[in-house]
Structures are given as structure tokens and as C-alpha cells.
Symmetry: C2
Subunit: 275 residues, 2 copies
């Protein structure tokens, strides 16, 4: 039996608080590399918090355009690291033969662009060229509903409560009902995990969902939301200029600074209607 | 004349605050890709906030082990994008001929590891193998001095004040005097910028400095601090398990949750001594 790495590691630290020093135990969010292999070939390594690794791998492959639906994946399992150990830090994915031909093209693009999937595979020219579906224009939510979402997400963040160090992504129905939530030390990983979960259960596109992320709304989060067909993306902090530009072009409702019963709508405000 | 991209972009948004909706102007932190080329060959693309691009390129090349001192770089300039335009989003670096031989090896490693520099180039096996110098064990600071640093850094964060969306990295003397500060939408970029500035002025290693970063203290920040010879690294939020592990192994004093006149020391607490 493989024992997966722990999400929390406890350690001895020195705490200093207004002149008082004491030795205490502190909980740390685990950060470990995960290598994602497809058909035996390593495609990427991402630093992540262990847990929901298969969802993370599936969500990443979906965001990169390597898979389009859950049935493209015939098998996901933990693999052996280079030293032969089964560490829980390698995920092996086998695709339907029809999908596997894309791998070579991905690797060539990967090299040519001098960039990588973790970082959004952002070449200056390909940024605008990437095609995404237009999100559902009929979805509506209310300001009151939006302002309730951060509290809902925080209430299920188990690891954050102990470590103070994790990002989270949550999927909600338009009435504010929480559907799925995942935590990770990386925002983009938390998003890949909730979208990967939906992929593996054949629940894509997410055309009836609101996606909430802790932290900033950068361009790569907007890109992942657009690929998954999410109509409303909200973050508790500031979006970047490129995130706003992509959201406007892609037809996505982008909400930022969603905290303290206040928020800012950066694009397609029509989906947020007063009750 | 090239006009560099702006750090702030202003846009029309809808603000919702406790039931009141109004149209306002909002400042966004600019996020644009920067391609770093060495000897004409593209090595990486990173999403960054424009400004201090040469420092960013120099700091990144240093963190990756491609340059060791400022004199390894014979020329840094803005280059042309693939479409022939000089956009300010391509930086061309020319190295001394002796250093240039490393480029091919870097690119081969880059491909082999299926990862990239922006993400820490973290292969499971190479993480622990990377050699770094032991930081200066004689440097001392005080708890009172440490708790003053976040306020100092925030006071010079010009773009953050307007956008709420930028990370910062600051270099301080042991008595709390601010030496350098840089902002970026990415924490790792802000660190590369302050270290790159020191590299270009031949002020490395930073054996008499405290490095403060906003946000989390992840492993890649610890790695960059160790490579630059920084003895004390502080962050305003939580470190990860791997960050603590690397700091302990590398002899670095790692401080976390530095805010509200409180902090936690995760490793080598001997450098923080009550006055």
C-alpha cells in the first residue's frame, strides 16, 4: 500500500509576539513536486500540496488542451519516481489512443515556446490566439449571493485553518450553493483540481457555475475558466490588466476584491443583477 | 524611441458596496509577458509587471546559474518581438563568450526536466542536489527591527497603493535600513528584480542583508535567497514545508507571518537576538 504524502507537516518553531518569545509547534502546508506523465512520457512538474492528485493531473491536461473529456483518460495511477520508489509524487495518465498523438505536438510546442504549462504556456504571440468557447450568457447571480461566497469557501478550507498558507478554489451554483472546493499551495493548482474533478465526472463545460478563487485573478486563472466554460469568475483580490483584457474578449464576467461585502465587476456585468 | 509598457492601466468598472452600485475608474497592475533571450536564443517567458526588466532578466539568469557576476553580462537591451515590433517585452542579453557555453546545457536540461525556470525548474531529483553557498553566520538582527520592516516596504510600494495587486521584495541592512525595493505581479519576479539589481552593481553575495517578501515564502524564494547568499529571509505570510526544509538544510534564517508586530522563526533562530 502506498501512503500518500501528508497535506500538513508539524514542526518546532520560535514564535515572537510583542516582546514575548516562546517555542511552539506550528503546522505547515506541505509543498512537494508532482510529475505528470502521459503514456510514460513526463510532461510537466508542478509544486503542489498533496491530495486530489488525479484531479490535479486531469485538470492540468484539460487546461492544456491535451484532453477534452473524462473518457479521453483510460487510466490514472501513481507511478514510480526516477529512483524506483513509489513516492506518491508521480501521476501516470494513459489516454485513449486517438488522443495520444497530441503529446508529441505538445512537447514540440513546449520546447519551441521556451515556456511551460505551469506558467500558462504564454508566448507573446499565442496568448491571444488560443481559442475558447463563449460562456453561457443566460446565467445570472445577485450581488448579495456573490458577497456570501468567500465565507462559504473559507468554512470548508480545512488545511488553511491550520496553516494559514493555502489557496482555495470553489465551484458554486448561481444561487450560492457550494458544489466543490479544493485547496493547494498554488492558486492555479486549486483551480485545476476543481476543474479536473468536474472533468473526471463528465460535468464539463461548467456553464451553470461560478468559480471563486482566493488571492489574485491573474490571466492564467481567466484562461482556465474560459477553457472550462465558466461564465462568472470571482477572486478575493486584484485582477491584472491582462486578466481583465482576456475576460472582456472572452465574454467572461470577472469579479475582483470580493470581500467585506464589497466587490468590483471588471467585465460583462450583465450577469450580476440586483434581486 | 521605445516607450516601455505602463505599470498601471486604468479602466472603467462597476463597484458594488453594501447595496450601492456605481461606475468608477479602477487602476490595474499591468501583467505582460517578458521573453528573455541569451545570445539571440529565447530561454524563457515570464508574466511580469513592466519596469526594471533588465534587473529581472539579470536576476533570473543568476538564480538559474547562467551568470555568476555582473561582468558575465556584456550587454542588455530591448529586442524585437516575433512580429518585428519593439514592444518592450523582449530582453536580449549577451554574455561573455566563456559563459555562453552554458546555454546549450541549460536548454537540454530544460527539455529533459519537462519543467521551466519560472516554476523553479524543480525536478524531483534535482531539488536537493542544487548547490548553494552557506550564508553569513555572523549577521544579527533584533525582533524589534524585524517587526518594522513590513511598514518600511509598504511605504515605498507605489503601484500597490494604487492597484492593491502587486507583490514586493525589499533588501534591508541588519539595522532595518531599506536598501532596495521592487514590485511585480509575481513574488518571484520581485525577488529576481532586487537580486538582479545587486548583480548588475556587483553587490553579490548579499551576506549583510535581510530579504523581505510580501505573500508566502515558498521553496523557490528560499532557493533564490540561498543562491544570492542572503542570511535572513522574511515573509509576511506562511512558508511551505519544503521552504522550511530547504532553509534548515541551507543555513538560512527563515521568518514567516511577519505582521502586526509578531513573527515566527522557522530555522536558524540564532540570527534573531533580543537587543
Amino acid at each position: 500500500m502506498r501512503h500518500p504524502p501528508q497535506r500538513i507537516k508539524t514542526t518546532d518553531v520560535v514564535e515572537w509576539d510583542e516582546g514575548r518569545e516562546r517555542r511552539v509547534q506550528d503546522d505547515l502546508a506541505t509543498e512537494e513536486p508532482l510529475e505528470i506523465r502521459v503514456g510514460g512520457a513526463p510532461l510537466t512538474i508542478t509544486m503542489r500540496t498533496p491530495g486530489d492528485d488525479f484531479e490535479l493531473a486531469a485538470g492540468w491536461l484539460y487546461a492544456e488542451g491535451i484532453v477534452e473529456r473524462g473518457s479521453d483518460i483510460v487510466r490514472i495511477s501513481y507511478g514510480r519516481a526516477a529512483d524506483g520508489c513509489t513516492t506518491g509524487n508521480v501521476v501516470e495518465v494513459d489516454l485513449r489512443p486517438e488522443r495520444s498523438v497530441d503529446i508529441g505536438a505538445f512537447q514540440r510546442h513546449f520546447v519551441a515556446a521556451s515556456s511551460c504549462g505551469i506558467c500558462g504556456r504564454a508566448s507573446i504571440d499565442s496568448l491571444r490566439a488560443r481559442g475558447t468557447r463563449k460562456p453561457n450568457d443566460a446565467l445570472r447571480t445577485t450581488p448579495e449571493c456573490l458577497t456570501d461566497l468567500p465565507g462559504e469557501l473559507r468554512s470548508v478550507q480545512r488545511v488553511f485553518g491550520r496553516t494559514g498558507g493555502l489557496h482555495a478554489a470553489g465551484l458554486f451554483e448561481a444561487d450560492g450553493t457550494l458544489v466543490a472546493a479544493r485547496e493547494d499551495i498554488g492558486r492555479h493548482n486549486a483551480v485545476d483540481k476543481v476543474i479536473g474533478d468536474a472533468l473526471l465526472h463528465e460535468r464539463l463545460p461548467l456553464s451553470e457555475r461560478i468559480l471563486l478563487v482566493s488571492g489574485r485573478g491573474g490571466f492564467e486563472i481567466v484562461q482556465k475558466a474560459l477553457v472550462a466554460g465558466v461564465p462568472i469568475l470571482a477572486s478575493v483580490s486584484a485582477p491584472s490588466s491582462l486578466a481583465v483584457q482576456m475576460a472582456r474578449a472572452g465574454g467572461l464576467t470577472l469579479v475582483g476584491f470580493l470581500r467585506d461585502r464589497r466587490f468590483v465587476v471588471y467585465s460583462h456585468a450583465n450577469r450580476v443583477a440586483a434581486a
